[in-house]
């Protein structure tokens, strides 16, 4: 498509090499056979939800990003 860039040979080679390495290292996941469920207990999930819903997560994340622009979404 006109508004997309072509994958350079260098990038295509790097992607293929990474894919092969990831497969050999077991880093490529098979499609799941059962629904995703958190490994955390309901009690810990509740603490995490409270942390998220209170805005504390967003405030702490803003601190993290302010310290390192390379971790910013923009």
């Amino acid at each position: 498509m006109a508004n997309r860039l072509r994958m350079s040979p260098e990038l295509s080679e790097a992607v293929e090499r990474a894919r092969k390495g990831a497969r050999e290292a077991g880093e490529l996941l098979d499609p799941p056979t059962e629904p995703f469920r958190s490994h955390l207990s309901p009690e810990v999930q509740a603490v995490l939800r409270e942390w998220r819903d209170s805005g504390d997560f967003d405030r702490a994340l803003a601190e993290v990003i302010a310290d390192d622009p390379d971790l910013a979404t923009e």
Partner: protein
């Protein structure tokens, strides 16, 4: 089918509280995240003023809960290591130079054949995904 999720959506999954689309998607798609997004989430869990730090909240719970941390991620969440990923990140031919977070997310999506699914729209990632023909979706977290 596979997706790469950001830190907010990862937290939604860890709390078994994803939105309807994400819940349905994870029934049949492998889920990956990036080291940068995982680091942001894990680091945020140790920060916060007053009583805001998650680590302090968990410290008030019985000992067993303290061992269940974000830092100990489920094997259902996939990662690709930097040895494989950095050469891809360094070769991305995007119009705008991505920062480390965006470069890693784009590289993971390319290597795993994933869609990028994020909670916050950002031009660097959106435009990089468009340049590389990667499916890009924004969900409200």
């Amino acid at each position: 089918m596979a997706i790469v999720v950001d830190d907010h959506l990862l937290l939604d999954l860890l709390t078994d509280d994803p939105d309807e689309w994400l819940r349905a998607e994870t029934d049949h798609s492998a889920v990956y995240t990036t080291a940068a997004w995982y680091y942001r989430l894990a680091n945020a869990s140790h920060r916060g003023s007053g009583g805001g730090a998650l680590s302090r909240k968990l410290a008030l719970r019985p000992e067993g809960f303290q061992r269940e941390r974000i830092d100990n991620l489920s094997n259902r969440i996939g990662f690709v290591g930097p040895r494989l990923l950095v050469p891809v990140m360094a070769s991305l031919p995007t119009r705008r130079r991505p920062n480390v977070l965006a470069a890693e997310a784009l590289a993971v999506a390319l290597v795993t054949g994933s869609s990028l699914v994020v909670s916050t729209d950002g031009a660097l990632l959106r435009e990089g995904a468009r340049d590389l023909d990667i499916d890009y979706r924004v969900l409200a977290s």
